[in-house]
């Protein structure tokens, strides 16, 4: 049986980290793998160096806040430029204490992406060389992209948007 490129990635990953894989899907042809949070750096390093996968290009790192789950997801998008294959890895961290490890030792480009994720979601990347705010002012005390912080000042009474579904 001929394996598709995506299956190869899944098989390679499962060979060593079967227990860490929580969920696999492929929305809009983009392989998405949800992983346990503990060994994410090890897994990325494995996918980076394994000849079958070779994800040597980091497309992006981003955070997503799910208030109902009380969790923050960190989404890594990796790219194998030679085989033109992409993978999205997700880990979920508790909102109270979102801690994970840095991947700056693998990708130099992860530096600012992780700083941005810290800046907006408060995700603490242990081992990061310079984890401080990047786009917001240094003395900001909140992590503004979390869903509990509304866009506008909710104490204002001079605006009534109830007619407009807001």
């Amino acid at each position: 049986m001929e394996f598709s490129a995506e299956d190869k990635v899944i098989n390679t990953l499962k060979e060593k980290y079967e227990g860490d894989v929580l969920h696999i899907e492929s929305p809009y042809n983009f392989l998405t793998i949800t992983l346990k949070k503990e060994r994410i750096v090890e897994i990325i390093k494995y996918l980076y160096s394994h000849p079958e996968t070779g994800f040597k290009y980091l497309t992006s790192i981003g955070g997503v806040h799910y208030p109902e789950l009380n969790q923050i997801a960190v989404v890594y998008q990796l790219h194998n430029l030679i085989a033109n294959l992409r993978v999205r890895l997700k880990i979920y961290l508790p909102v109270e204490n979102p801690v994970t490890e840095t991947i700056t030792s693998i990708f130099a480009g992860a530096n600012w992406m992780e700083r941005e994720t810290y800046d907006f979601y408060g995700v603490n990347f242990i081992g990061h060389p310079n984890l401080k705010r990047i786009l917001n002012v240094d003395d900001m005390i909140i992590f503004p992209m979390r869903k509990e912080y509304p866009l506008e000042d909710q104490t204002r009474e001079d605006k009534n948007d109830s007619m407009f579904g807001r």
């Binding site: 929305p27 809009y28 983009f30 998405t32 040597k56 290009y57 980091l58 497309t59 992006s60 981003g62 997503v64 806040h65 989404v75 998008q77 430029l81 033109n84 992409r86 999205r88 990708f107 130099a108 480009g109 530096n111 600012w112 992406m113 941005e116 907006f120 705010r133 990047i134 786009l135 917001n136 002012v137 503004p144 992209m145 866009l151 407009f164 579904g165 807001r166």
Partner: protein, 402 residues
């Protein structure tokens, strides 16, 4: 007393003193609001610490409160030198989420607009490299041509810099005869000027001395820093989204991806220069092959109906109201779409929970990602080369700070 000749002008190593220089935030030579605290040893840069975020406008947060059509103007203000690419990239992201079939004519028209935008983007960058090496003349000539492209935008969508061009599903109107005339005028005039500009700088001794070997980065480091676009290609990696993952019918056109070898300022200049020629080639092919057909897809939930219909047709009125008020629901889903922007892979990572606004929208902004390599690239170089390196990387403050 005799002095050792070789020690004249040098302090003993243990007493070496560095000076610190604030380059920016508002310095006329940096073409934008960038701050770099430079640790200097004479005129040599020892260390650089960039500070960014001076024009952060919270687009990702804003996008979580806006209906999909209203996010387009936000994308304008990312890389404002090539706003149409951002707009169309965003439209295509939504269309991917909806699963909309886009007519061939729309795709070709989009290619024409996106390539025009790429030309203006590269043109500003290369003209500014010229200015920073002391050649102001080319800049003035090229800006005349940029003006012409802006007039084309104006004919198509009514705006110039922040274009908000097109709609989800296509264009608001077909290109007018005047727009076509302007495009043909541009195709006729621009190659002459571009050739002249190239002749001014390409083999110019002063320009070559200033740019070759300056601000270089190896292919390995560039990939490790997640570079994309002309900067990555100048380092010798032939990654172009238009070829790797063709969108909007790019597979129909014949063009080459120019690559450099050293990743220095001169290579970046030459890659951009060649890409402009390739863009012209693509535009010509698109015009030649342009099929007939509608100028927008059939997505009544997202595409504003014509005004006469709104007054005379019940459904059109409902759709009009729903679109304007942003009350249209979107399917649930998670989608990533990327286009080859002026500076590289411009990605939109969109999570929809089925509501009127995105649940999460992340912009992959190429500038933000490659600007972090700047300290490494200017380490050990002169201050004037640092300025040149920055302009050759085409760092756009709007894209950097979102």
């Amino acid at each position: 007393m005799d002095m050792d000749e070789s020690l004249i002008g040098q302090a003993p190593p243990e007493e070496k003193q560095y000076s610190y220089l604030n380059l920016g935030p508002t310095h006329p030579a940096t073409h934008g609001i960038f701050q770099n605290v430079l640790k200097m040893d004479g005129e040599i840069i020892v260390e650089a610490e960039p500070t960014i975020g001076y024009i952060h406008r919270a687009f990702e947060k804003l996008a979580e409160r806006r209906p999909y059509a209203q996010i387009t103007p936000l994308t304008d203000r990312l890389n404002y030198c090539s706003a149409p690419i951002n707009n169309i990239g965003w439209h295509m992201t939504v269309e991917k989420l909806l699963g909309t079939e886009i007519p061939k004519r729309v795709q070709y028209l989009r290619v024409i607009i996106m390539e025009l935008a790429r030309i203006t983007d590269h043109l500003i960058c290369n003209a500014v490299i010229g200015v920073d090496t002391g050649a102001l003349t080319g800049f003035v000539y090229l800006f005349q041509q940029r003006e012409l492209v802006y007039e084309i935008y104006e004919e198509i969508c009514g705006a110039r810099l922040t274009t908000n061009i097109g709609r989800i599903g296509g264009f608001e109107r077909d290109f007018s005869p005047k727009a076509w005339a302007k495009i043909h005028q541009f195709l006729k005039e621009f190659p002459v000027i571009l050739k002249e500009f190239e002749n001014l700088l390409k083999r110019n001794r002063i320009f070559m001395d200033r740019t070759i070997g300056v601000g270089g980065i190896s292919d390995e480091r560039a990939l490790n820093y997640s570079f994309s676009g002309p900067n990555l290609r100048a380092a010798g990696v032939d990654y172009d989204v238009r070829v790797a993952a063709p969108y909007s019918s790019y597979e129909d056109f014949d063009f080459i991806i120019p690559i450099g070898s050293n990743g220095d300022v001169y290579d970046r200049f030459m890659v951009r220069q060649e890409e402009m020629w390739q863009s012209l080639r693509i535009i010509k092919q698109a015009i030649d092959k342009l099929p007939d057909g509608p100028f927008h897809a059939k997505v009544p939930e997202f595409y504003l109906p014509p005004k006469e219909e709104v007054y005379n047709n019940m459904e059109a009125l409902i759709y009009h109201f729903k679109i304007v008020m942003g009350e249209t629901d979107i399917p649930k889903g998670e989608v990533y779409h990327c286009v080859e922007g002026g500076n590289g892979e411009l990605g939109f990572y969109l999570i929809s929970d089925g509501g009127r606004t995105p649940f999460r929208l992340q912009f992959r902004r190429p500038c933000f990602i490659y600007y972090q390599a700047y300290p490494e690239m200017i380490k050990g170089s002169m201050l004037s080369d640092a300025i040149l390196t920055m302009s050759s990387m085409n760092v756009i403050a709007g894209e950097l700070d979102a």
